[in-house]
Amino acid sequence: MTAHSKLFALLFICCVYSPAQAFLIQTFSGEDAPIQQTWASPERIPFVLYDAGSDDLTDAESHRIIRESFQVWEDVPSARVAFSDLGVTSTRTPSRRDRRNLIFFDETNAFLQAPRGSGIIAVTRLNSNALTGKITDADIIFNGLEFRFSSNEQPVRGTVNLKDVAVHEVGHLLGLEHTPLDGPASSRPTMNPFNRGDGPGLGQTLEADDIAGVSFLYPTPEYALSVGSISGTVSNLEGNGLFGVHIVAQNTETQTQISTVSGAYDGQGGRYRIEGLPPGPYRVQMTPIEGSINADNFGGIFSEFATDFTPEFYDNSRVENTAQTIEVQAGQTVRKIDFTTGFIRPGFPSVELSGLAANTPDTTGPYTVRVQAINTDQLWLHYRSSLALSDRIPMRSAGENIFAANIPGQPVSAQIEYRIEARNDSIDQIFYPENERWFSFNILELSGAPLAFTALRGSDFISVVDTDTRAEQARIAVGDEPIQIIAGPAGHFLYVSNLSSNEISVISAATFQEVERIETAVQPLDMAISPNGSTLYATNSGAGTLTIVDLETRSARTVWLAGLSTGPYGIAARNDKVFATDLTNDQLLIMDSEGIIQSRIDVAPQPRSLAMSPDGKLLYITSMGENVLTVIDAETDQIDGRARLPVSGTFAVAVHPTGEKVYLTAHDEGSVLILKADDLSIQAQIATGDNPRGIAFTPDGQTAFVTNAFSDETVLIDATTDRLVGRYRSGDEPRGIVVNNPVQLSQDTSVYEMGATPSRYSLDPPYPNPFNAETQIIYRLPADGQTLQPVRLEIYNGLGQRVRMLIAAVQEPGNYRVQWDGRDESGEMMSTGVYILSLQAGPYRQARKLLLLR
């Protein structure tokens, strides 16, 4: 190789763009390791402002916002960053050599020369020494021709908040790359690649990841001694290091997150190091960088990320609450926090929960644990409770690779822990979870106050909150992106539309368990139930179809809606007709109860949500595209009225149980409008939070609950005084909400105490017997020296197969009465025949015959 060619080879290596080192740091490839782009003298980074600011703001205002944006970074106490404000200049030509670091607004496109529609808002141009990485010149140019800029003080719809963009750009100017960390607006790092218009303040404050990044680049002398770090490797089963795996450390006390990417540290796959962790307990997780944030958000050498693996906590736990906690000390590095993707060793059993058992008020049980397992058909469920009950029971096959077992009912306040043991023919044994960890759930004692069930779109759970204490009682795992929730007849079951997994989850309001999933078409969204309780309708917003569910059989069918390629969105139902919004054609669709379109009505632009008055006579329609509420006479299908609203558009709508008031969410403005139903006059406008999208009332109509999708909270409005009376934190992106009174288990398995404590065990003859509709069963548990004893009351058919578990619980001494309605576990009516009733209670065994006649 000639000297000339060596030169160009070296040049080529130096010039390949390669951001590396996460939070992340902007780097490019060196010969041996990535070269970080940093300022040689961060204590005095100069900048100069072009004297003309944005045309959309005063010059003074533009300059103030730019200066404040620099100040945001300068205010990080653990970083030795300071800017030297050189004032204003009349020279606006940016140069990569003048070292003036010019900030200016290109109002004529003279510099950017971008075509209209390019979308370019701002460019930060960094020039660095190709060998050392030291930044020599940086300019920030805003596209003033194509975009209008606004300030925090005067946010204007459709403009770009200058400080939102400027703070992010200054982060780049300092040498920071994008971070893969995402999250709600309140905690999303400023250096996230999606710089969302979250409103003043949210995009302009630094989060832990941003602070760790700038502090790592320019640490104060005290900084290294005040924080710790975690390091380790990520490899596959063959032991090969993997590049581009996102490693996230979350402080379990503050919930703050700081992350890195494997390979960013040294430019090679496998090794990672998370710097800048304030002392405290952390859970560490590896997760693939794919989906909305992926390798394309970074560029350069980060074009090939390892993504073919399942997210996992250290070590091998896939469930957060069982993951090992790592204590980080100031000035120290916790080493060897190693991950192996695909921890399933070939041939070894592998077990994964199908869904976590949620906390439940159900004392009757049984609590069913289901797992997916491969390389094994020998599984046992180990469980133990805080009441010293424990057992190891075999798990039965419940489908391909699915196994299940039941934990018997437990009394209130019990905590149940469980885990799974799996073996294969080679007697390889594993426990899930590993390392003596157990899953757990609690038997709840509810206050009796109504419960708020909220669909958390961002975390795939339904959150259950006691409306009295506002404390979360349980989280119920459902499908992907649960977005809306509706209560069925009498509130016994709740139906949840899962936007991304194309199904409706059915949840028992009595047990807090998901009991079934109903398949829909693409992107099920809003739901409505006919007043007679027979039918549920769900809009499939990505398919132009409607799913119709028979609520008695839970059988579903989907009908195509002519003329719709996307949507429908909102829906409301009477017994004789169904209404849905066609947002693309600005119409209301009117269908018969079979989903056949009968007519269409032109309504205000972008109709979104529907709500029916309690008497079924009026239908209210929100409009996202205009400040209008449309009212339809649901009998004649004619427009009954319109109301002009002092907001740009509305999203959700709900009618108060009395029918006297209508509540609307103005999602863009972050408020709720309350209108009188009789004349559509505005009673109140209440600021709620960021992007309110769900409304529900308590059964007594006293309180309205409003979910703020983007600020992750729910607010309470007194429906009498129309005043905000409280708020509580919800999970990630709360959307649909239902507020119901607690539901008791159905009568067919309910238990009653009667009279004094018996002196002996007994199982009385059932009455009536023979029976048709239901029969009553009485059994007695003596004190017998025990305060609690396990009880199983079961029904077997003539083949000796169990068809129904009536009781599986730990019970106190007493007299108990149970009814059996002649149905099996799935609710199917059993056929005529002889059945065996079996009671096991402590040492007592007794059986009796039952004759069912149909």
Partner: protein, 182 residues
């Protein structure tokens, strides 16, 4: 000689541009772009324009969804390598010869050349997955994507890795959808 080379290199500058671009939904790309083509890159070359490197690409058009149905299109995009100087603009898509893309293009700029709308947002590379099924991947290349103030952030669309056929079908029919309504 080696010292001379090292001395020379120490004065070399590496330039990159971090770019913030308005985020466009697929709906916006489909409705606000001037042209939409499925293309194959035939040629690429570097040139100087106004003292800055640009890259000239020539594409063969295999399908036109929107705009004039020309057999070929040419793009001149900022950034490139001229001799020892490399200018790389974060988010400006780059194409290699033979690569296939779905391009959403702006109107021409003053020089008469369109750009992909929203830089890399308007360029979806077509790649085969493990089953040889073509899928599309947006060439974001490090862009910062911004949503305007006082406007709720729409959901991030799951376009990455979509199957080509369903993606194109969606592009054709998207002109009237509204994803923020979910």
């Amino acid at each position: 000689m080696v010292y001379l080379i090292a001395f020379f290199i120490s004065f070399l500058t590496w330039q990159c541009e971090a770019t913030t671009v308005e985020r466009f939904s697929l709906h916006q790309l489909a409705t606000q772009s001037e042209q939409i083509h499925v293309v194959t890159c035939l040629e690429s070359s570097y040139e100087y324009a106004d003292g800055q490197p640009i890259t000239r690409y020539k594409f063969a058009v295999t399908e036109t969804i929107k705009g004039p149905p020309n057999a070929h299109i040419t793009l001149h995009l900022p950034g490139g390598i001229i001799g020892a100087f490399e200018s790389r603009i974060a988010g400006m898509p780059t194409f290699s010869i033979g690569s296939q893309d779905v391009l959403f293009l702006t109107a021409p700029n003053r020089a008469g050349f369109a750009w992909p709308m929203g830089l890399g947002q308007g360029a979806f590379q077509i790649r085969l997955d493990g089953n040889d099924a073509p899928r599309v991947y947006q060439r974001l290349n490090g862009l910062t994507l911004h949503d305007r103030a006082a406007k709720p952030a729409p959901e991030i669309e799951p376009v990455q890795g979509s199957e080509l056929a369903s993606f194109l079908q969606r592009v054709r029919s998207l002109s009237k959808s509204n994803d923020s309504a979910q």
